[in-house]
């Protein structure tokens, strides 16, 4: 089984169900890679060896009939370390959760395990998912498997790197403004941000609740469909999760008709790398050759997305992160001093600079006298952006754009310039604010060999068209 690193999740599951390979053996390969390749990349914070092997043994002990009901039988999966999984520490890439072990499983974890997946480990991430390079982790940056000098993207850098490096065929990250699509683009894998409400957030540590979305990485369109199929759908524990028509996506991944695809002119603005622009043009040409109609469109509110996103996300984060106060779990500093000192010293030493910056930004945006000018205004712009997308999708099936303005930048390159870092979300934040699904596909490489991600955005709950376009473009290279 020397080819483990190129095996797809579909192949692993299929061969496990047939009894051709053992889940314990596959799990062993994944764990071994995680501790060698994974530690070179700094992709994992915690490996879940004990439980992973137990899960694998349980699968191997099943009858063929039982195995046949497991769509992810024996498939090693990694989880971003902001998703609750019992018995192992959850850090969120932060110092402040020091020693915290979740006493419950996230809904996606329950669904993954019920589908036969094996949880290999918890991946490195920007602290509390705030960042676009994975350099904001308390546990150090993750290296891009394509070029270890470069950032894997963020905030789900560890999950992206683990999938790109062949440690696991599938991983969950989480998106708030591009935290899966952008690292998928940087590492050369697929990243899907599902429709807001499609996957339960129960068990996902909140950053910005109104845009947070657990989101998968994969190396093939079929694998992405597998993990989405197994985990999406209404959850009673998440009031914002939605009951929707959840068809069997795997059954039909072929496009049955010609699509109309819009290219917003605002998505090729200043700062767009020429090689990324060329990749976009090339994709357009391929689509037209395949018989799809590409049209130029305009989404005038696009340049409002970054300021809107940073106001809303930071405002929500300022409240979401208030619970990390040293009282009940995690780090506690100055335990013998006053309550105020305990609070401020715990938070001062527990949070990194980017997290503090966003908490202050968000607190300010919600303060008396500023609330209307910032939070309310941003909420209004967000509503207009949602309508702008809705209006566009009356005329087109998909939006086509770059995922990020550039390929992976060098580690350290933008770390001292938060604003430049924020701008790497410029093409991903709009879909997050509107709650529509979007996918990043590894469709090109730069002359120096760096992956370039191309993004497709669809209307609410039209993941099926995203899966079909992904399969069409990736399987007919």
């Amino acid at each position: 089984m020397s080819d483990y690193r190129t095996l797809s999740a579909a192949e692993i599951a299929d061969r496990t169900r047939k009894g051709e390979i053992s889940a314990v053996e596959i799990t062993g390969r994944a764990l071994a890679l995680a501790s060698t390749v994974g530690s070179e990349l700094n992709a994992f914070i915690t490996l879940c060896e004990g439980k992973a092997l137990k899960q694998a043994e349980a699968i191997d002990a099943m009858s063929p009939e039982q195995k046949s009901r497991l769509p992810l039988a024996g498939v090693p999966v990694a989880l971003k370390d902001n998703i609750s999984y019992t018995d192992y520490p959850m850090t969120c890439g932060s110092h402040i959760l020091d020693g915290y072990i979740p006493p419950y499983d996230a809904t996606v974890v329950t669904r993954l395990i019920a589908s036969g997946a094996v949880i290999i480990g918890k991946t490195n991430m920007d602290e509390f998912a705030m960042g676009s390079s994975n350099e904001n982790s308390y546990f150090g940056p993750v290296k891009n498997p394509v070029d270890p000098e470069r950032a894997p993207g963020g905030s789900s850098g560890g999950s992206a790197a683990a999938v790109a490096a062949g440690i696991v065929p599938l991983a969950f990250g989480s998106e708030t403004g591009g935290s899966v699509r952008q690292p998928a683009a940087f590492c050369g894998v697929l990243g899907l941000k599902p429709t807001y409400g499609a996957l339960s957030r129960y068990g996902l540590t909140a950053f910005a609740s109104s845009t947070d979305q657990i989101s998968p990485f994969a190396r093939t369109a079929e694998d992405l469909v597998l993990i989405y199929q197994a985990t999406a759908g209404r959850d009673e524990r998440d009031s914002t999760s939605v009951a929707f028509d959840h068809p069997n996506y795997t059954a039909d991944l072929a496009l049955s008709r010609s699509l109309t695809i819009g290219l917003p002119k605002e998505y090729r603005g200043e700062g767009l790398d020429p090689e990324v622009a060329a990749a976009l043009d090339h994709t357009r040409k391929r689509l037209e050759e395949l018989g799809h109609r590409c049209v130029d469109i305009s989404l005038p509110l696009t340049d409002k997305a970054i300021p809107t996103y940073y106001v809303i996300a930071s405002a929500e984060a300022s409240a979401n992160l208030a619970r990390f106060d040293g009282v009940r779990y995690g780090l506690r500093e100055s335990r013998d001093r006053s309550l105020e000192e305990m609070y401020s010293d715990t938070r001062a030493s527990g949070f990194g600079p980017e997290v503090k910056r966003r908490i202050m930004l968000g607190t300010y945006a919600l303060s008396a006298g500023y609330y209307d000018a910032y939070y309310i205004k941003a909420a209004q712009v967000r509503e207009l952006m949602r309508r702008e997308f809705e209006e566009s999708f009356k005329h087109i099936d998909l939006i086509l754009s770059p995922t990020a303005p550039t390929p992976a930048f060098r580690l350290g390159e933008k770390v001292s310039d938060p604003l430049a870092m924020y701008l790497s979300d410029v093409y991903t934040a709009p879909a997050s604010l509107a709650g529509v699904p979007a996918i990043s596909l590894p469709l090109a490489r730069s002359t120096s060999g760096l992956p370039i991600g191309i993004q497709f955005i669809a209307k609410h709950f039209d993941e099926r068209t995203l899966f079909r376009i992904a399969a069409t473009l990736l399987n007919n290279k």
């Binding site: 006493p103 957030r201 909140a206 109104s210 009031s239 914002t240 409240a319 009940r328 919600l366």
Partner: protein, 482 residues
């Protein structure tokens, strides 16, 4: 009333937090129970663990709707939960889920009668929110605080009045009526000792006739209705004295100290919290359609005042008794249970209002839980009315019912307490009595008829009170006059 304050008029508004008596918490499935082992009634949601999410308990919404509709308010078709941000060790998420600009209920009024005047206090809003936990500071002064999070997520409604209240006594009467209404609706137990009902007061004073409001202060830590009244009295006088001596009231929050009977400054306006409310993104807009509102309205029970009015007309009892009997829903229910088997309303009202209530009070229980049941009271009253036992004997039977819980019939039989209404028994007794007291017989016959009472008393004594008094009267008259 106005004169009490030296040309000044108090302006008071009250904010009351009422704990809804649902079985489970507002955003999770944990049980609501007072006095359980600390931190035993918790889960990831009410502990505010990372990743846990709130799911609204529809029962809590329904309880809030009952109160809103019962006091004539309107339920919003769409209301929004909001986060109220502040740090405190017993607030696990660092924010409280409450409601802000779109509360579930608006308007309505609490009406009551005080000193024969009808008063209506308008309500601004009723909103839903979750309770925080409890911080326990050791009395011995050790340098730590313990936190019990069992109460976290207990559903509350906050009832905010307009500043329509003009005296501490009105505030007291408002609270009594509010509590009675909550209890009638089975929405809140109203138990202040357990913190099921909590009250903060806003108070200012202004010269009588003035249209503008004075600067107000907020009073907290008011643990009983009496404390509310006393604290308001204190603060009104403090403000008036301050103004009269040339000072100005400052907008502050004060803590009532029951021991010293004074209000102490808790924080000034500058130190007041900015709660940074914003819409709670973990919950969707609360939709309440008109059908739901109609269903809740249809299920509303008859409230105290309406019930008292009906008692007067239906059972023919005095207004005073009707008010006593409708004080609590369970007492009114008890009375009506008795009346379902008995037909003399005033007799029942007299009994329940005196003998029964005294016994219930002695037992220290809720009347609904009292072991002497309404059917036994009805049975007892019927025996009095039919003359089987006298009123005096009835009291003895009742005392035995309180002790043993037995039915009146078995007590009467066991103790031989039936009324003696048999001429052949009573006549010999009376004849013997007249023979033994010739002097008094002579007195009576010479016109001194006030000795009649002496003879009645003697017969009763002889029969241990069991003689039928009407028959004794008739027989005595016949013998003495004849």
């Amino acid at each position: 009333m106005v004169a009490e304050y030296d040309g000044f008029e108090p302006v008071i508004g009250l904010e009351v937090h009422a704990q809804l008596q649902t079985n489970s918490k507002i955003f999770c499935g944990c049980r609501v129970q007072y006095g359980a082992e600390p931190n035993s009634l918790t889960c990831p949601v009410c502990l505010g663990l990372p990743g846990a999410l709130p799911v609204l308990n529809k029962k809590a919404v329904e309880y809030a709707m009952r109160m809103i509709l019962a006091i004539g308010g309107s339920v919003r078709n769409e209301s929004v939960f909001a986060r109220k941000n502040y740090f405190y060790p017993d607030l696990p998420k660092g924010y409280q889920i409450s409601q802000f600009d779109k509360p579930v209920g608006e308007g309505g009024a609490i009406e009551f009668t005080l000193d024969d005047h009808r008063k209506s206090v308008g309500l601004i809003r009723i909103h839903l929110e979750e309770d925080a936990g409890k911080s326990l500071h050791p009395e011995s002064g050790e340098p730590y605080t313990q936190v019990d999070l069992n109460r976290c997520g207990t559903p509350l409604i906050e009832i905010v009045s307009h500043p329509d209240i003009r005296s501490p006594r009105e505030a007291y009467a408002y609270l009594v009526k509010l509590k009675q209404t909550l209890q009638y609706l089975d929405v809140c137990t109203g138990d202040m000792e357990k913190g099921h009902l909590r009250c903060d007061a806003n108070v200012s004073v202004r010269p009588i006739g003035s249209e503008t409001f004075g600067t107000r202060t907020e009073l907290k830590n008011l643990n009983s209705f009496k404390h509310v009244e006393k604290a308001l009295e204190y603060e009104i006088n403090r403000q008036i004295n301050l103004i009269k001596s040339g000072g100005a009231v400052e907008q502050t929050t004060l803590l009532w100290n029951e021991k010293s009977q004074t209000a102490e400054m808790m924080r000034s306006k500058e130190e007041s919290h900015d709660y940074r409310y914003f819409p709670e993104p973990d919950l969707v807009t609360l939709q309440v359609d008109n059908d739901w509102i109609a269903r809740v309205r249809a299920d509303l029970p008859e409230l105290a005042e309406a019930r008292a009015t009906r008692f007067v007309s239906q059972y023919g009892i005095r207004e005073y008794d009707a008010a006593v009997l409708t004080d609590t829903r369970s007492l009114a229910d008890y009375f009506e249970s008795v009346m379902s088997e008995f037909d003399d309303g005033q007799a029942a009202a007299n009994w329940i209002g005196t003998e029964l209530l005294a016994a219930v009070k002695d037992a220290g229980v809720e009347i609904g839980d009292y072991h002497v049941k309404p059917n036994h009271i009805a049975d007892l009253l019927k025996r009095v009315k039919s003359g089987q036992i006298s009123g005096k004997i009835a009291k003895d039977v009742f005392a035995e019912m309180v002790v043993s819980g037995d039915a009146p019939a078995s007590i009467i039989k066991k103790k031989g307490l039936e009324q003696i209404s048999d001429n052949s028994v009573l006549e010999p007794i009376i004849e013997r009595l007249l023979d033994a007291n010739p002097d008094n017989v002579a007195k009576y016959r010479s016109g001194k008829t006030n000795v009649f009472g002496f003879f009645v008393g003697q017969v009763m004594k002889e029969t241990r009170g069991q003689a039928n008094p009407t028959m004794v009267n008739e027989l005595l008259k016949k013998k003495l006059d004849g």
